[in-house]
């Protein structure tokens, strides 16, 4: 799940249209399909309801430079199949 603030953040990044779509695809594909083991290994603190994940890509259609997007995801409702994006940070 994505909140409007993070949608706007992604849509306004200084990247090509295709790179922005790549970020959204990563959220629906990779973030949604992450394993239990990965989530446990990537918590900012043990027992935290959040895990972190980083997307690595090159914007081949724009500046052709390597970029990263960090995500913090709340997985407290993962048993119901819900992962909530709560923080997105582009570098």
């Amino acid at each position: 799940m994505v909140v409007p603030r993070d949608e706007a953040y992604i849509n306004n990044l200084p990247l090509s249209t295709l790179a922005k779509r790549l970020i959204t695809k990563f959220i629906s594909g990779a973030v949604g399909g992450v394993s239990d083991e990965f989530r446990e290994h990537n918590r900012p603190k043990p027992g935290s309801p959040y895990f972190q994940m980083r997307l690595a890509f090159r914007d081949w259609w724009g500046d052709k430079q390597p970029h990263t997007v960090d995500f913090v995801v709340n997985d407290a409702r993962v048993a119901m199949g819900v992962l909530e994006i709560v923080w997105v940070d582009y570098q």
């Binding site: 994505v2 779509r21 959220i27 990779a30 980083r54 690595a56 990263t68 940070d89």
Partner: protein, 173 residues
Amino acid sequence: MAPDTLDLLPDMLSGSTEIIQRSLLSAAGQPLGPRASKFLLRHFRYTLSIIRGLWRKSRRALLAGAEATAFLQECGLAIGSIESYLYLLHKFEGTIQAQPQTAGRRQRLAELDAMAAEATRIRAAYQRWTSSFGRPMRDIDWQAVADADAAHARGEHRTATDFEAAQATEGNV
């Protein structure tokens, strides 16, 4: 190459490097004969083709977007393998240089130089990716996280699939 073959590239690379290492060790300082030299040269070419394949696979992964931890592991393995390859290539170059000066020797040395240059370029690409994608994450703004949690709790959100569909249909990016 089929996707499952691509997944085997790191293993193929370490296996191929090991064969070269064993062949050079078995020579143990003895001058290499023409057959052994040809065998090793062929193997260096083959190993470089695996390095090239691995590099293309990594480039394609970045084209689609990759999870950084796994990608950085792939970069680390590739850098280690390329360094072994370059070390062995320089050792082999030394044995070729010890051979009598002929046109064939010059040609082999030129080819080894070109192979070393290409492997070095690919290693540099992996090193650049490692420093770009391995930079530390910035501090999380926990107030912003709390705001997002509150928005989720109010139901002010949509699925990533709906967001993706909106990007495609509304042309808002």
